[in-house]
Symmetry: C2
Subunit: 364 residues, 2 copies
DNA sequence: GGCATAAATCGAAACGTTTTGGATTGTGCA
DNA sequence: TGCACAATCCAAAACGTTTCGATTTATGCC
């Protein structure tokens, strides 16, 4: 093992001719320490390069100074990143402002969602956890609430107990999408929702039904497609839909993978995706290139900004803020011209300003 | 903070009527502990749910039981993941077999590569570090060698001191690509190499030049394109090439983002990418859909398997294995029919076997 | 100068685990 | 039974930091 940092509280105390206690207290702005002494201690610590040893702090206080973010490997690792790493960057950069570091754990296909969270708590891997793909009665949320393990979910639950979350306005997004499609003359609009019983699917269905009701359009159950969100599964599901119902003229997709799958399926059926064929609208955090982009509308969630909000809520939670105050529903940013948007992203990338990359509606 | 696990060495020792020392020794198969006692202690530990407290272990031994993997945010987070999360899954799953956990850190655009590594060491965030995008005289590798900080690089350096690495056979891959293009009649073959002075660019250039020499084709410097690897930068660079030289019939691209960029640029010039127009070959770990796939050859690096090898080298290094024995160059797996390959991946995904997803040449 | 009080600093113990070296117990032989 | 040696177990200290409560120093008043 490499040598330990040579400066610890003991050496610092010896250097200053003070006790370890006083030095520790001074570094934490203890009110019973003379301001003179505080300044002297801090100056010496800075000039000697003292860094607190996280292990010592943990053993005494029980605080690991780590937050764990869990990603669902089958969804992310095989088919491309839907923005998780952008979120990781946002989370970790924000945590660092409070000396926290982010641990990333993969939940593989053969693990239950709860197993990974349980492990984080049992092994004291982190002071709190961030997880997504929430369900209405999410067992992880219930576990964390029961054991008082701090967490911020990316997505809501329907639990009565308040807890911290960051989510997007799925109901509003789908409502907007359907209203716009209807304004373009579409009457046979399908909704593609994710399989897995996630909470956000409910919000999306609600937005869909509300828009239909407001439009005076009938609610036709066969217009609801439910499927896992891989390109392949999406392609299958949309193929089925288009085969059994040729009157469908538009699909509101769950994410960009399912948008790609829907485009593939349309091509298979000899239908051109886009404004003149099958109209495709979708959601997501990574506007990378899809088979077709013209006539595609994309509801964008800037994941880096999302990550920052997640981290801020987590820090506030750890600082004692009540969870009721840490519940944020962020708007989607609608992109009607994906190509233009990606060009804009490109120009901003040249400027290399991370804050700008989050888009003009970033209010974080 | 949540309560600490209630079972520690003290409670276990009291339960067994032994000293803390003996219990600790027994759990580690200490040779001076009676086999009877060892078995008794282990059984009690298992049934009472004893888990060692990582903080206590760290404070005494200096071992954090964590490995840190650093990703370069601008390359990964903005433009989509080139397989990093698949690698994360492979690394973390393999580390877990030795009770290690993976920390993922983002190196942002305004940080130097060394800064993140230095921080990991100074703050004792991990026992070792994994980083990629190595340069020939990589300052991170030199730093780690100087301070004896264990590391495994994903990519080689040209440093004299031996160190552990996992890399792909870039020279062999490009050699193979050029030979095959030549066998198809191509004589004006461009090489698209990454900007940034990374070691692997040298290997690729070497493979390119060696193939040309073996083929008796002239080495024309204008056939070498160097650019950052975003879709946008790639598109620009290939546009420049095609504008100034219309005789180019094939490009060996650095990764699939640059393949996409090259396809975009070809389309701009009214050239059809593929077997009858501009032939495009590339490398990468994430065979997601590109604008064109017919006539495209893809040298695939299965990142999950790569991650497993990285983790095994790291564990061996920490276990005292000399770095000279931990240097692995993995072959690329050539995919001539991307569409077929993705269908195969899909079928395997249905089977949900992670080992199979790495492909038939996985020798890991 | 002595006393009371406040300000400032300090010693000791705690957190969980590992490891060195000592103490205790068991065994074999004269 | 006593001695020497091996097997087995144990006490104490270390790691770095925080925090409780005690001790020391400084200040103001009579």
């Amino acid at each position: 093992m490499p040598a330990r940092p040579r400066i610890n509280l003991k050496t610092l105390a010896e250097y200053l001719g003070l006790s370890i206690t006083t030095v520790s207290r001074a570094l934490k702005d203890g009110p019973e320490v003379k301001p003179d002494t505080v300044a002297r201690v801090k100056e010496a610590a800075a000039s000697l390069g003292y860094l607190p040893d996280a292990g010592g702090v943990y053993l005494r206080t029980g605080r690991t100074m780590k937050i764990c973010s869990i990603f669902y490997a089958p969804e992310v690792a095989d088919y491309g990143d839907a923005g998780f790493l952008a979120q990781v960057e946002g989370v970790s950069r924000t945590l660092e402002t409070d000396s926290y570091n982010l641990i990333v754990l993969a939940q593989t296909a053969n693990q239950s969602p709860l197993e990974t969270v349980r492990r984080v708590l049992q092994q004291r891997l982190a002071d709190g956890v961030i997880f997504s793909r929430t369900t209405p009665m999410d067992e992880r949320a219930r576990f964390c609430l029961e054991f008082k393990f701090p967490f911020v979910s990316f997505g809501r639950t329907e639990l009565h107990s308040p807890h911290a979350f960051v989510d997007h306005d799925d109901e509003g997004g789908v409502y907007d999408a359907v209203m716009r499609l209807a304004a373009d003359g579409h009457k046979r609009i399908a909704l593609f929702n994710p399989a897995g019983g996630m909470t956000y699917a409910g919000f999306r269905l609600r937005g869909y039904q509300r828009a239909l009701a407001d439009l005076g359009l009938p609610w036709d159950r066969s217009m609801l497609v439910t499927s896992p969100l891989s390109v392949w599964a999406s392609q299958d599901a949309v193929r089925d839909l288009l085969t059994r119902d040729t009157s469908v003229t538009a699909i509101v997709c769950a994410n960009q993978l399912s948008m790609s799958g829907a485009m593939e399926a349309a091509l298979e059926q000899g239908i051109e995706p886009g404004r003149d064929g099958l109209r495709i609208i979708g959601f997501g955090g990574m506007p990378f290139r899809m088979p077709f982009e013209q006539g595609v509308t994309y509801y964008y969630q800037p994941q880096r900004r999302d990550g920052e909000v997640l981290a801020r809520h987590m820090l506030a939670l750890l600082g004692g803020e009540p969870a009721e105050n840490l519940q944020t529903v962020l708007p989607y940013q609608r992109i009607d011209d994906l190509r233009r948007f990606r060009l804009d992203l490109r120009e901003r990338a040249v400027g290399r300003s991370a804050a700008d990359i989050n888009g003009p509606t970033a209010s974080g």
